[in-house]
Symmetry: C2
Subunit: 637 residues, 2 copies
């Protein structure tokens, strides 16, 4: 049983790492046209001037300016072709002795002569030697990251090859008996057994290439002996070795021991989250990292530690991501004593940016893919308060964020269909949905941090969907309610109904494991209404306290026998081939603020909601009634 040896702060970790990394000295000469992104090892000087000789800057006739001094509008001057005037095109070397060019448009052709009506001056329309670059000019200094314009400047100055630092080589070693290589085996559950797909090695390789490394993925290493051998050998061939994972405290977490056996352990454990169990050591002068196994931890560790390593190895600077000031729409708590890096979505609302934290679990890679940015909560505070201005490191383009529609609130498959149709019709646009449940969506609008929300909340007394809740929480506010569709909600049950569930009345049965939806979701509100009607006690429902935040999550749990039943929409039952007992036909609607209703982006969204293809795809998904899709139910557009 082993805990992390010591836990150091992330800055201290970086400092310790960099102490052990030495810049790469090896230089290679590469063709300049392959130079983009490479880093020079010494200054590069022009081999020749550009242009290398005096040449015409225009299409016209070269001549001697001294001969043209008398020309004016009333005294046209005639120059003999061949001797006094030589036809030239742009870039042609100036004929010997000539020192000015008259442009073609200002010349009258007259057989063997040309006629001009204006005097020329010395070097008029002539490009001097070295106008652009002069022989021996320093084109780029040492440690310069070559850009695309540098490439053509170098070539134009006769520099065909440039001296650059060898690219740093990194080896990524995926480890673990539980892993499988999806490119080397089948993905169906049968043939892969109970193994997990190795996607981290691709993540780390992708990040490494993006940073500037030459990255190699090793095959999955399953046992300790092999790992020790691989590390021992690879430190000879690579500048950096990453072991992923095996840095934690499990039976197969050999990284620390192997580093100790082969070299020197520098630290194990960093007080940051995600990324805590990182290991670092030196084996035969080479940095060896144990990178945590959860994908978000792996990504954050790479960014925190391997980018500085790249900079040190190459004597260069990794381009920094943009940082923008944002506001917190609500409190974002965090544990004191631990630096926490939180993925966020960003919503631009009334000219200000708001950050919406994504699920924080280190295992949720999808939230990394969906994140717009990262915020860092320092270790010495307990998180951020409401309406605090904080700095956010962007992972996406500011433009993309601004062009996007952001819907908070209730989850439904129609949101994915809308998104797909939106990107199809308007590649520059996008739709982001944050599944907080209906009520949270409405409260976000009330608070002024959201423009759009989806909702399906039934009012018990009025027997109406959505309008009463809007009138209650958004009274006096200019909002519009757009009908998306009616949809079937019901109990989803494993195919064939092995437990013989007949209706809502059965969910309190002792032998039934239920799976619930989160508090505030319309589906939860529906369930609570139904059990109240039936007089079923919450306490009697096994699994009532286990909440999921989407219909599909409930569906997959039932299909995989984690639960026997739960409430979800018909489309999910169809998707996962589940049995379905209808409970209600709901109205799933979209609330939009008056201001956003006038935004171009909303116009695009409305066009999609009202399109035939949207209706068609909803009907294909199943359980939707699209008879009034796109109708305005409250307020007006």
């Amino acid at each position: 049983m082993r805990r992390y040896l010591e836990t150091i702060k992330s800055k201290e970790a970086v400092r310790k790492i960099l102490e052990h990394v030495r810049p790469i000295e090896e230089e290679e000469m590469i063709p300049a046209y392959q130079g983009k992104g490479r880093i020079t090892t010494r200054p590069v000087y022009a081999k020749c001037s550009n242009p290398p000789f005096v040449c015409s800057a225009m299409d016209g006739y070269a001549t001697m300016f001294e001969k043209t001094l008398e020309a004016d509008m009333t005294h046209p001057l005639s120059l003999a072709k061949g001797s006094d005037a030589v036809r030239v095109n742009t870039g042609d070397a100036m004929p010997a002795g000539m020192n000015a060019v008259v442009i073609r448009e200002e010349v009258e052709e007259a057989g063997q002569h040309i006629v001009i009506r204006r005097p020329l001056y010395l070097w008029q329309n002539v490009r001097m030697i070295g106008e652009d670059v002069i022989e021996d000019d320093m084109l780029v200094p040492t440690n310069h990251v070559i850009g695309i314009f540098d490439v053509s400047m170098l070539i134009s100055a006769g520099v065909t090859h440039v001296p650059v630092r060898r690219m740093p080589k990194i080896l990524i070693i995926p480890t673990g008996k539980e892993l499988m290589d999806v490119y080397n085996g089948s993905t169906d559950t049968e043939s892969r057994g109970r193994r997990l797909i190795d996607s981290n090695s691709h993540l780390l390789a992708g990040m490494a290439v993006e940073t500037g490394f030459q990255a190699t993925r090793h095959a999955i290493v399953a046992d300790r002996k092999e790992l020790r051998e691989v590390v021992g050998k690879s430190v000879n061939d690579y500048d950096v070795v990453l072991i992923n994972a095996g840095s934690s405290a499990g039976d197969e977490d050999y990284t620390e021991d192997i580093i100790r056996e082969l070299g020197v352990l520098v630290f194990h454990g960093v007080s940051m989250m995600p990324g805590r169990p990182a290991v670092f050591g030196i084996v035969r002068d080479k940095p060896v990292f144990g990178i945590p196994g959860y994908p978000v931890s792996a990504a954050i560790s790479f960014q925190s530690f391997l980018e500085p390593v790249y900079e040190k190895l190459t004597s260069s600077k990794v381009a920094k991501r943009s940082v923008i000031p944002c506001l917190t729409p609500y409190k974002i708590p965090s544990r004191i004593g631990l630096e926490e890096i939180v993925r966020v979505n960003i919503q631009k609302h009334n000219g200000r940016y708001y950050v919406f934290p994504l699920p924080r679990g280190a295992s949720i890679l999808s939230s990394m893919a969906r994140a717009d940015g990262l915020i860092t909560i320092p270790e010495n505070i307990e998180g951020y308060g409401e309406d605090e201005e904080i700095q956010c490191q962007l992972l996406k383009d500011e433009c993309d964020i601004a062009n996007r529609v952001h819907i908070v609130g209730s989850h439904d498959l129609s949101l994915d269909i809308m998104r797909d149709l939106m990107k199809k019709a308007h590649p520059e646009a996008d739709l982001l949905s944050t599944h907080t449940g209906s009520l949270s969506g409405i409260l976000a609008i009330k608070k002024g941090v959201a423009d759009l929300c989806t909702t399906h909340i039934f009012d018990e007394s009025e027997k109406v969907y959505n309008i009463p809740v809007i009138e209650k929480y958004l009274s006096g506010r200019n909002v519009v309610l757009v009908h998306i569709a009616k949809r079937q909600q019901g109990l989803v049950i494993k195919k064939g109904n092995p437990k013989k569930i007949t209706g809502i009345g059965d969910i309190g049965r002792e032998d039934i494991r239920f799976i619930n939806r989160q508090f505030g979701s319309g589906t939860r509100i529906l369930l609570d209404l139904l059990i109240k009607e039936k007089g079923i006690k919450k306490e009697s429902i096994r699994g009532y306290e286990r909440e999921e935040s989407s219909h599909t999550a409930v569906g997959i749990m039932v299909r995989e026998s984690v639960a026997d039943t739960g409430v979800a929409i018909y489309a999910v039952a169809k998707l996962f081939s589940l049995d379905f007992i209808p409970l209600a036909e709901e109205e799933y609607d979209l609330v939009v603020t008056g201001e956003f209703a006038e935004d171009q982006r909303f116009a695009k969204l409305m066009a999609i909601i009202r399109s035939d293809v949207f209706r068609k795809r909803l009907e294909e998904a199943g359980g939707y009634n699209t008879g009034h899709t796109g109708a305005i139910k409250y307020g007006k557009l």
Copy 2:
């Protein structure tokens, strides 16, 4: 004789181009790990959930939570290994029937049992099926540009291959008898004759690859017949064909005619600068461009026209460059009726960004490489006034600009040496020098738009360098004068002195062609002093009005016999193997404002100026006296 057919505005040109471009429909399936930057043709759904089964989230023991309810600190609970508690590592599938994991650190090992002192709850430390991604979740929609996190998300969800749009293929055809391929021939003047190096095709290929095209460079095409053949064939194999150049009005500008012969001409001539002579037409449904030959025109045309074409072909959006608000330190005039795009350097000064226009000539590629950004002057105004706030599109990182030292003023080879040493010692830093001449540099400090300037201005009456001019223009200002070096100025003369020049007295001779430096430069001030002393009239000096803005420019003109002599520093004479007649030993100094003298960047620069290696490299360059290099001559640090 042909002028452009018509001249249209750039926006109108883009509109016309896009009318003729159709999105690529062909889809290809590629391995997900090669997906970065590619664009999906349809939504991609998860093939399996991640995790695909219920598994342990921690290293520990799996058990049934129901059996642990009685455990507390005073009533330790014992669970039998194997039956009631199964050892698991993170990611292991949960043993059948088990529904909670106690982490290793909270377990006391007791032979065949484990002891716990806290109850567990349902699914504690267990990752549910689909916690990250649920089977059939839409992972990315149509027209999604795949990012590195998407790649691993796709793989983790069992998606090994993704449907993406075929990459658009572009062919770049360099044309012109005057061109040579530097990778296919020697660069020495002898063997290449009077030809120019083709660097544009590399520039355009680089920009095309950066944008997302699959770019192919054709060999240089020298004649009309061949060009017609190549265009006729290549429209079958490529989505876009670029001809460069041949779009102007020279004898070899066939592009328009060839487009007309093979297809339909859409426009010739755009009212923008650089980039005016662009041609566009359609040949067998494929867009064919004639891109102007001057490199800056080529780059601006590519950006203006080919980026929108890429977006249309691929139904995606090219990442927009950041735009920041900047101030104009002085007037930036421009011609009305023509949209002008001006390259600028950006200087951050007192928290505000100032734009300094670079040479505007379309032939000056190096200024594109050196530019920090581009500003656009619309066609309906005559440029910008002083202190106007304008928008600048960044070509470089904001961070790089902020970390840089910017010196305006007098040109000297020592600036390149400083820059090289700066980047060597501090890869994150850089040094930018703008050669405006000594006086303009001092005036920029006076105006408050510069932090540093270099100067060598001799005061006739006091017989002292630099201090009097500082006292005159910067009186009452807190500035410091740092001595860089003494340097030899003199007449540079072709090796062997063919015209038998003996000293400054000869430059007025009828047979001598002189090359001058720009007004306001210290060297010009020196020359004017010397000829005044000798009683030489400006009018008698042939070439007095031809100004160059650097010592090296004067040197190359003399070596290449464009002029017989000019004034330059000894280092340039040495560089170009010229004869040298000394005229003066000058003091070349650096002025720094009091505020900037306290900046970390200045500390770095001072360390370099005072380093042995700087002195050594100056001495190697020749003509420098470094006896007092780094001394403070005025003010204090």
